[in-house]
Structure formats: C-alpha cells, structure tokens
Amino acid sequence: MLFVLGGSSTLFSQSQADSLSPRKPIDINILFNYYEQDGIHSAVTGGLGTEELKDRAAKLVVHIPVDTATSIDIQGSINQYTSASTDNIDSYVSSASIKDAHATLTFGYSKFILPNRLSWNAFVGGGIESDYISSSFGGGITLSSKDQNQELSLGVQVFLDTWIVIFPEELRVPGMVSLPTDKRRSYNFSATFSQVINRKLQASLTSDLVYQTGLLSTPFHRVYFQDEELPDIERLPSNRYKFPVGLRLNYFPLDFLVVRGYYRFYYDTYDILAHTFGLEIPLKPGPFTSFYPFGRYHYQRAAKYFAPYGIHLREQEFYTSDYDLSGFQSLKVGMGIRYAPLYGLLRFKRGPGKVGMLKSVDIRGSYYWRSDGLRAWSVGMDLGWGG
C-alpha cells in the first residue's frame, strides 16, 4: 500500500517537475562483497566450537531524482552464506556446510519543502532469512542553514522482526524450553548535527537512542552450566536501551591528503561499554584517484550476563556465552582505491540524447582481528553508475 502511495506521489511530482526543471541524473551503485571468518567461540555450541563462516553479498542502491526537489531511493541486497556454527544446531560434530540466505528491500522517498534548506524523507522495507522475518519503516527531517554550513537531521527507524524459533536438537522435547515471545521490536531515534569549521575542516556529531524489546536472545544459542551436562538456551532481558554517540572529523590539510577521523562512545543497559576509533587517510595522487588506507580499533567491556562455557549457574535469571557480547578488543586494517574520472570509465547510449556511464570504481580489502581469537577478512567492490 505504501509503495502504491509512493508511486502516485512520484508520478504527480514528475509531471510538475518536467515543466519546471531538467531532471538530475540517476545514480546507481552496485556493491559486491566476500567475507570469511573463523574462530573457536561459537555461541551455538555454548562458547566453544567453530565460528567458520563464508558470506557472499551483493547490494543495489538506486537514487532517482524526480525533479530538483524530490527523489526516490531503492535499495536491495542479498547475502548467501555457509556457516559451521549454524550447522551445529542439530549436531555437535559437523562441517561448515549449512547454507542460508538473507535478502532485503527498501523504498525511500525524500522531498525538499524549502529549496536546499528543509527536507523530509520516509522509507519502508523488509528482510527475510531462514529463521527471521523483518519489516521496517521510518522517516526524518533535515534542516540546513542558509549558507549550508550547518545541518541538523532528525530521524526515527522502526524494525518489526519475527523469529522462526529453532531450538537446539537436544532441547526440542515438548515443554523443555519455552519463550514468552517470538517478536523483536527495535526503535531508533537519531540526531545528527554537522558543521563546516573552515574551508578544509568539517565535523558531525550523531547521537542515537535505541530501544529494543521482545526476544533479544537467540533461541539456538546454547549455554552450559557448572556441574550440569544439559545446556539451556541463551536467556537475556527482554528490554535493552542503547546509547551510541559518534563524532566525525574530516580534514583536508594538503592537496594530496585527507584525514577522516571517527570516534564512538557506546553504552547499553546490558552494561556493555565501548569505545571505537576509526582513521582513514586518503592519498590523492591525482584529481580522480584516491588510495585510502584505513584502520579501526574497538574496545568493549563485557555484558553483565556473559560468561564462558561451563561457568554460568543454573539459578541465574539471564545468561549468554556469546562472545559478541564478551569483553574484547578488535582491530581492523585495510586498504582501498577509488577511481572516478571526470567523464567516467565507460559510456553507453541509454536512449535518445541520453548517455549512461560507469562513473567510479571503488575496491577495498580489510583484515579483522578480535582478541578472543576470531579472525576475518573481506574484499569488496562498489561500481558507481550514472546517467
């Protein structure tokens, strides 16, 4: 229904726009990514066991300006992965063989109310994988100063998710384990203020307030207890507030050098406290090329409900052995190259008087290290088309 409404608005806006101004070109980004990880702390097997995973992903991002004030955004993505840990829901000894897929689709609409000063946007979307169905919607407003040196964005996102509950094999006896709900709700209120500081320096501050409620644990994650052979499923509180605050600072000190800095403070009601630092230094040997080495450091204090394999006590109300919620440090290093010549890399005719082109290519690779032993690497490519 929302899609139909969006479509009618688009047609209306388009007919108005055709008589007012030329349409801006459509932008399309096609993203590909390959990711591989391995570790020894799978939550499916209670904090011990392989975390081997291979993921192939593709994403399409389409930005369609309808006129100078209105645009439509469409995003679709698909992941296909093999996961050894998920394979162990049914059997302790297995291989990295189980296959799964995750697909998402989102439609967005944005419109300027005051030219270049005030705009609003809305989106609706959904996602599906074998054990999870999600729908989402949201919107926001953006207000810019007259000289475009300050900008304030306020937004809200709502995710309505439903689990297809799958318990570990040995806990499937009727009445053995139960859950109060299979629903998860996530509400995110976001505010971003960005500021131009001088001709070469700009910054932004983003603050989110996230509230999640419902089934926040994973039904097939096992937890093993002291002096007990039989595990239980992971149990976590059904409410969680998250408070992340992020600061970005981008500086262009020399004609061939940019420095992009990022810091995030994070705290949530599971008692996870985290600091994340990111640094990217694009080097520009020419006007159309950037080589950008990047690095990211993350420190995280464990959730108060976390303990390793066989440490929890059965009488506790909440428990997890998921090392994603443990205390650790992680480091990511990588390198990327972006090439975007003025007249594109490839041009083609896409209709009478219309030319499309491959505008940019961005290729990146990274290595991720987590202090509990998880290792991962990924390579990705972003092809930017326009016309």
């Binding site: 995710f159 131009v196 500081i197 001709r199 700009q202 996230v210 605050v245 403070f265 990146r364």
Partner: protein, 76 residues
C-alpha cells in the same frame, strides 16, 4: 561507578566540542572545493556497507554510524 564517571566525561567532551564549533567561520559556496570532495563526506563510504554490517553483528556495540540497528538476527 568509575565507568559511569568516565561515560559522563566522554559525553561532556563531545558536547563541549560541538558547542565550540558554533564559533566557526562562514564558508561561502564557492570556497567549498575541498569540503565537496567525495573523500570529505561526513559518512562512511558506500563500499564499507558490508563491513559495517559485520561489525554490528560481531560486536555488542553498534549505532551512531549510519549502520543498521535491527532487521537481521546476525546469529551465526
């Protein structure tokens, strides 16, 4: 208690930083050659989308970076 104090301190520093930005110089549109460069965008690169997703799953902390906060279990 100590960590709470630390949190307030970090938050105060961030708030102070942003307040101090209100005394910035006004940059005209024709002076924004450097600011309009794609490497100066105040957001993550589109090509980093999948890495940010993975970090949201592999770390308990997420958000304030334009990444996702819901809509996937990330359970493997």
């Amino acid at each position: 208690m100590k960590s709470k104090r630390k949190s307030y301190l970090v938050f105060s520093i961030l708030a102070g930083l942003m307040l101090s930005l209100s005394s910035c110089v006004s940059v005209k549109a024709y002076e924004k050659m450097y600011l309009n460069d794609s490497d100066m965008a105040l957001k993550d690169r589109k090509g980093a989308y999948h890495e940010i997703n993975v970090e949201a799953y592999r770390e308990g902390a997420a958000g304030a970076n334009g990444g996702k906060i819901g809509g996937g279990c990330g359970c493997n």
